[in-house]
């Protein structure tokens, strides 16, 4: 293909998509503003006008309805894209490959019996244990180490950077570490320089390859944990730390007995946030191994069935939902506690 051809086709074919995009922005934004403006206008001027003999009552009535005008688009979208799917997915998971083929809980039964599913479930368990623990631990470590450092903000910014990178991009980046070639992969280069002759493919080492994949997500999430924990550490009253120094605490005791207990709430929040993420991320496994070599996890396992067997795919998705459920409930309880 000639280098310029892409450019030409870009103009010939792509402008409409961009235009379409811009149009959507205009229609979407304009529609939103128009909706909010006109619906309020309608409410105040036509349905319950704030004049005439019932002005006072009308204002009150309008104010009772207005919140729902403000909320309607959000409730509609949330209901459609998040609430309905919980029910819809469950319902669909009771059918087989064809949406008209009622199978009851067969999908779940078959999943439970499948080796691959058990493998994916077990791997996911490993991920849920290892990734949040390591990311939180490293985040806390970096947050503490950089706390009083003159160049701490630069260091934090650099460790935070992977947050901006897509899981796909991150996977590619790590291919340059894991590649099965001493001239490309760092790990094999280090092995070669230590005198090991033949390169190994770390993605194919049974069991341990899971951990090499987790490293990628830990690499991304440590920055998140660090930013939040760093703010929490800063929030600890300086005087309690000075009091502990006067009380004779050494740096170790200061950290574990004074600082960590004071930010325990934040540590839990960070931990659960990363746990939830681990249950959603399929990109890394998909890009690095495609789920081969015993590295399948639930989200990537689900994608194996996507477009092929919707019944099975929704069953896997619903199992993920059930795993997340305790965290969801805990979150809601916490949120309600705060509001009081």
């Amino acid at each position: 293909m000639a280098p310029r051809a892409g450019f030409v086709s870009l103009k010939g074919f792509y402008m409409p998509v961009i235009v379409q995009g811009l149009l959507t922005i205009v229609i979407g934004v304009g529609g939103c503003i128009g909706y909010f403006y006109l619906s309020n206008l309608l409410l105040d001027k036509v349905i319950f006008p704030a004049k005439g003999e019932n002005a006072g009552r009308n204002i009150n009535r309008a104010n009772q309805i207005r919140p729902w005008l403000f909320l309607f688009p959000a409730i509609f979208a949330l209901g459609l894209y998040l609430v309905y799917p919980v029910v819809g997915s469950f319902w669909r998971s009771l059918y087989g490959r064809s949406p008209s083929d009622w199978v009851g809980f067969d999908n779940y039964v078959q999943l439970a019996a499948s080796n691959e599913f058990q493998q994916a479930f077990f791997n996911n368990l490993l991920w849920v244990i290892v990734v949040p623990a390591m990311a939180t631990f490293l985040g806390l470590l970096v947050a503490q180490l950089t706390d009083k450092l003159s160049w701490g903000n630069i260091a934090k910014s650099l460790i935070f950077m992977p947050m901006a990178i897509s899981f796909v991009g991150a996977s590619l980046i790590w291919k340059f570490v894991y590649a099965n070639d001493a001239d490309i992969g760092l790990i094999n280069a280090i092995r070669a320089s230590l005198g090991f002759g033949n390169p190994i493919d770390v993605m194919q080492i049974p069991f341990w390859n899971n951990f090499f994949l987790m490293v990628i997500l830990i690499w991304i999430q440590t920055g998140f944990a660090m930013v939040i924990l760093s703010a929490a550490l800063r929030g600890i009253p300086e005087e309690t730390i000075e009091a502990a120094i006067l009380d004779g605490a050494n740096p170790w005791q200061l950290f574990f007995r004074i600082k960590v207990p004071q930010i325990m709430g934040t540590i839990v929040v960070v931990w659960t946030t990363i746990t939830i993420l681990v249950l959603k991320v399929f990109d890394i496994v998909y890009t690095m191994t495609g789920g081969n070599f015993g590295t399948e996890i639930l989200p990537s396992y689900m994608m194996d069935f996507m477009f092929r067997d919707d019944g099975r795919a929704t069953a896997v998705a619903f199992i993920i939902m059930i795993v997340v459920l305790p965290v969801m409930i805990w979150n809601i309880v916490q949120a309600r506690k705060e509001m009081r």
Partner: protein, 382 residues
């Protein structure tokens, strides 16, 4: 139960000197109060004694041992912070036990120390509560209790009352005074910006200003014989009036011709070298009295505003051209006993006993030469 000695102690951040030439001896059992305007370095000095700030010059001794490089925990001091600094995740008991646990004291010892402190401070019902379940005053007592259990040689208080409301502040101030009385051997250093706290608690007050010690003395020393204009105006409320004049007579007493026409006589001694010198005459508002008909006056002016407080009346005078407006202390104030609201708009002439008239040359009191009282026998009678 220790004495402290500060020799030429200094603190600088880079090239900025925060404190310099701090020389101070603190005897065992004293309650020393550091006062000064905000930014004078009083908290910094306290934190240097605690070891929370490094000493960048000079020497600090506790009980004869130089402790410049001794970590805070090994100095035998305890500190009560302004915000109490209680560990929020520990109960009152654990808060008090923390230092002892770190020091690996036995369980019995810890329990004994806690129950003793709790008894003194009436904290027994609250030992198993978390700090957030306590009132401000109770938290303050826990903070003090945390110091007591360590049985330190020196107690340090960093504005401990400033987070309390007015009523509680008075009550807690009295408690601290009682605590000091119960522990006569313990040395306490107390930082505040509140001169009432300073006057009521201190055995000696250290006035800090501009990075140095302005004056050290008992509360009444500072009130009656301020060493310089700063201390004169800092101690006492409303502040001392400073009026310009020129020395016209020297000797055991000093005579001054006031710039705005009056004359003043002070018991402060002066030498021939002082003759004709420009000085400031200082009179406390409460020391002014109305001049006799036909007698000499130090100040005369028209009353601008009166504030009747019941037992006394404050008179604010219109200021003429001659008063020093630069320092922002332009208004001359007099405090007269009784009610005098009818004086508003009237011309009033004021004078004061020679024993209550302070004279400052170049900002320094004539009573002191090289930091020492010149003629002890010339000290004005009380």
């Amino acid at each position: 139960m220790a004495d402290l000695k500060l020799t030429e102690v200094a603190k600088s951040y880079g090239s900025v000197d925060v404190l310099k030439h701090i020389n101070l001896d603190i005897a065992r059992g004293e309650l020393i109060v550091f006062v000064g305007p905000s930014g004078c370095g009083k908290s910094t000095l306290l934190r240097m004694i605690a070891g929370l700030e490094k000493i960048t010059g000079g020497e600090l001794q506790i009980d004869g041992r130089v402790v410049n490089n001794v970590p805070p925990a090994q100095r035998g001091i305890a500190m009560v912070f302004q915000s109490y600094a209680l560990y929020p995740h520990m109960t009152v008991r654990d808060n008090m036990a923390f230092a002892l646990k770190i020091a690996k004291k036995s369980k019995d010892e810890i329990e004994a120390a806690i129950s003793k402190a709790a008894r003194i401070l009436q904290l027994e019902p609250y030992l198993d509560r978390l700090p957030k379940a306590l009132s401000g005053g109770q938290r303050q007592r826990v903070a003090i209790g945390r110091s007591i259990v360590r049985d330190p040689k020196v107690y340090l208080f960093d504005e401990p009352l400033s987070n309390l409301d007015a009523a509680l502040r008075v009550a807690t101030r009295i408690e601290i005074a009682q605590l000091k009385e119960a522990m006569p051997d313990s040395t306490m250093i107390y930082v505040t910006h509140d001169q009432v706290e300073a006057m009521t608690l201190a055995s000696r007050i250290v006035v800090l200003a501009g990075g140095g010690i302005s004056q050290v003395g008992t509360p009444l020393d500072l009130y009656e014989r301020p060493e310089n204009e700063f201390v004169a105006q800092f101690i006492g409320s409303p502040a001392m009036n400073l009026l310009p004049g020129r020395i016209t007579g020297t000797g055991r007493q000093t005579a001054i011709a006031m710039s705005n026409g009056g004359t003043a006589l002070s018991d402060y001694p002066s030498t021939d070298a002082d003759m004709g010198a420009e000085v400031k005459v200082g009179v406390r508002p409460e020391d002014f009295r109305a001049a006799d008909e036909g007698g000499a006056h130090i100040f005369a002016g028209r009353v601008d505003i009166t504030e009747a407080l019941g037992e006394v009346t404050l008179l604010y005078f219109e200021t003429g051209e001659s008063t020093d407006t630069e320092k922002g202390d332009a208004a001359v104030i007099a405090k007269l006993g009784g009610t005098h609201s009818n004086l508003r708009g009237h011309e009033v002439r004021l004078t004061a006993e020679p024993g209550k008239v302070h004279v400052f040359r170049d900002g320094k009191s004539l009573l002191y030469r090289d930091g020492k009282l010149t003629a002890p026998e010339a000290i004005p009678a009380e």
